[in-house]
């Protein structure tokens, strides 16, 4: 490398070979820099382990968790829930099957982690780590977070309506709007005053749909 710049004044006494550089405090790195580092972390598991290093890192991770996890969720291929091999026959209760996680991208079974996922309910979708399960008998929708075990049952205000099949297939927005109307929420109401969870279960074969709406 050629000479990059000229030193006008030399403080020759101290050559800058200070291998014992002043103490560095990575925990106190400005949050904007911690966030920048987090931007270069793409695996959700790495992100979560980053937060376990120390509290300032946890804070930085939490502060941008919502939008960042959403980004990661978009990029990351979801993990698959698979059977635990030893549970097939000896499950105490039919619905108490245990599952493991299989990461497609890492080609790895998280073998020591077992999640309990009720078997008697149909899983009709997932979002942000939550599974939406539906009870076929009463159409009740329960959200289940298999990691935390938390469940959230939506109030049973479901209505069943008939929808032309082409609506379901061609225009999901239209279908949702119809569901809103049928359940009685005027679309122009001040929706931002409340936070809603809306779940719709569609049966394309019977042209039927049910909507559950809950205030959070």
């Amino acid at each position: 490398m050629d000479t990059l710049f000229e030193l006008k004044i030399k403080k020759s006494a101290r050559s800058s070979s200070s291998s014992s550089s002043p103490p560095t405090d990575w925990a106190s790195l400005p949050e904007e820099l911690l966030e920048l580092i987090l931007h270069h972390i793409n695996q959700l598991s790495e992100y979560l382990r980053f937060a376990a290093v120390c509290k300032p890192w946890l804070l930085a991770a939490n502060h941008q968790r919502d939008h960042r996890q959403r980004e990661i969720h978009k990029q990351v291929v979801p993990m698959l829930l698979i059977h635990s091999p030893d549970q097939k026959t000896e499950a105490k209760e039919a619905w108490d099957y245990r599952r493991r996680l299989y990461s497609v991208t890492e080609n790895k079974i998280h073998s020591r982690l077992e999640l309990r996922v009720p078997y008697r309910r149909r899983c009709c979708g997932s979002s942000h780590g939550w599974l939406a399960t539906v009870n076929e008998e009463d159409l009740g929708i329960t959200l289940l977070n298999p990691f935390s075990g938390r469940t959230l049952s939506l109030p049973k205000v479901n209505r069943t309506i008939s929808i032309p099949p082409r609506d379901i297939l061609q225009n999901m927005n239209m279908t949702l709007k119809r569901l809103f109307c049928h359940v009685g929420i005027p679309l122009r109401m001040n929706l931002w005053l409340f936070q809603f969870i809306v779940c719709a279960v569609l049966w394309p074969t019977s042209n039927q749909a049910a909507a559950n709406i809950g205030l959070t």
């Binding site: 925990a27 580092i37 987090l38 996680l101």
Partner: protein, 161 residues
Amino acid sequence: MASSIENNNEKLTLKSSDGEEFLVEKHVALQSTLLQNMLDSDCSSADVIPLPKIDARTLALVLGYCKKHADASSSKQGELNSFDSEFLKDMDMGALFNLVLAANFMEIKGLLDIAAQKIADTIKDKPHQEVREIFHVENDYTPEEEAAVREENRWAFEGFP
């Protein structure tokens, strides 16, 4: 390259926190948004621009990066990429720490990005206990708190001590 010869006539002096002065060509200094803004707003009329947060060793590294990027034409992107990957390769964590703070202070986006990438790569695939050791971060969790953080996302710690 004609334009850079012209620019070479203009130089400015930067002073590190430990008092060393660096005579830098203007087009090299322009890699830093901070210095660019100072030059634009004519704050540079002072003889010497002090950089009180950056020591000489770090400033020399930063200016080395700026010089390389300022002199390379856009056709040499491949060469710049390999320069970038070599630049931080064997840097110790203390130097990297000072460098990332300096890049942030001087607003040198490219340098900031490769430094953040380097740090993220160092963290990846390592148990968080080892990350603490590498970065000399004190564990400020109580055992109970740490257990709770792990328990909440048990799957992410699968296969890690």
